[in-house]
Symmetry: C2
Subunit: 209 residues, 2 copies
């Protein structure tokens, strides 16, 4: 099995680096996918949204058929939703993947590739209204949403929760627990200040949820 992570200019760093780490723990310690690939349109180094420079392992042209494909978000998605080569790659790979995932505004790439038609999905809190403009997408304000083999998550750090949930589904809760311990992913429950109480904050943060 292999697990591919799409890269493009101005991709948000944690959107892919969080899931990358979690999948690596799955691979190394718990019999997860043997191969993990960062995939670019070419193998030239890419500048991410916050300035990190990352070199893809393979290009669209030399990427093997993938078992899992994760699409991160970031400012770059605004441009990539019009990139026919990228959308063609996603569509072609997704047709044979076991599971396809997006983090944050990566959902807009799934949508542009036709993969969210008549699906429930979510995205970054600041882009929920923009996703609602597609009448065939049902937007759900949860940490992540699964609809068949399409998994979408809320913003940035939510990709970590998404990937652990995927592993629990695909390999079982015991394996997911070992991966969670491996990454020591037991976050503090702190919510600083009052930003999370703003009306535009996602519904899953509201008191009582």
């Amino acid at each position: 099995m292999n697990f591919g992570f799409l890269l493009f200019p101005d991709v948000e760093e944690l959107d892919f680096a969080g899931p990358w780490e979690i999948v690596a723990m799955w691979s190394k310690h718990c019999n997860g996918p043997q191969q993990r690939l960062l995939i670019g349109q070419t193998v030239n180094p890419l500048q991410c949204a916050n300035g990190m420079l990352v070199t893809p392992h393979c290009s669209f042209a030399d990427c093997p058929p993938l078992d899992y494909l994760l699409i991160p978000g970031g400012q770059g998605t605004r441009k990539e939703v019009n990139n026919r080569a990228l959308l063609g790659f996603v569509r072609q790979q997704a047709a044979n993947c076991r599971q396809v995932l997006s983090v944050c505004t990566g959902a807009f790439i799934l949508q542009a590739a036709g993969l969210l038609a008549n699906k429930q999905a979510t995205t970054y809190w600041g882009s929920l209204d923009r996703l609602r403009q597609f009448p065939d997408v049902t937007v759900i304000e949860e940490r992540f949403v699964r609809d068949g083999n399409i998994w979408t998550s809320a913003g940035v750090s939510a990709g970590i929760d998404l990937t652990l949930a995927l592993i629990a589904d695909q390999a079982g809760e015991e394996i997911a627990g070992k991966v969670q311990l491996g990454a020591e992913y037991y976050p503090l429950a702190v919510r600083y200040g009052i930003a999370h109480l703003a009306p535009e904050a996602p519904a899953y943060l509201r008191p009582g949820k």
Copy 2:
């Protein structure tokens, strides 16, 4: 102000990518450090512990004086604790930094550079006993530990909690809350399976803590 992140071969990806994202949100949206730098011994691309290829922005030789320095962990620390050039760089920069941070086994680099002498500190759960072997370090099994201007965190994902706590301290809780919303860092409270109940799991996970 600027914020530097040390890189070295076999550095653990999320150890630096999590804090990198959080500091970027601080910079971009909340008047945080204007400059963020990934720093290598040279500017050649580095292979991280799980295979990600990252190119540093500057080398030890051309790095400006830093206001903040974060030392990630990973398998590579086993070698780097004997790298005199790296330890010299850390020691020299730390002397003038406002705050110095480590994530995971990055604590062993701080120790080797002499920065944990007579300090309280923590590290990855799997390396706590190894850190206890230094008699002048008091090991505390918390998510993160602050002692003066030295901040150390538990493993891998704990660097995100560490960096938010740093921002709350340096810029206030309201700013930390805006950064938290920016990164949508409101993790699920799920603990999968029973791995976190193992005797070697860190004390902060024990029931009642």
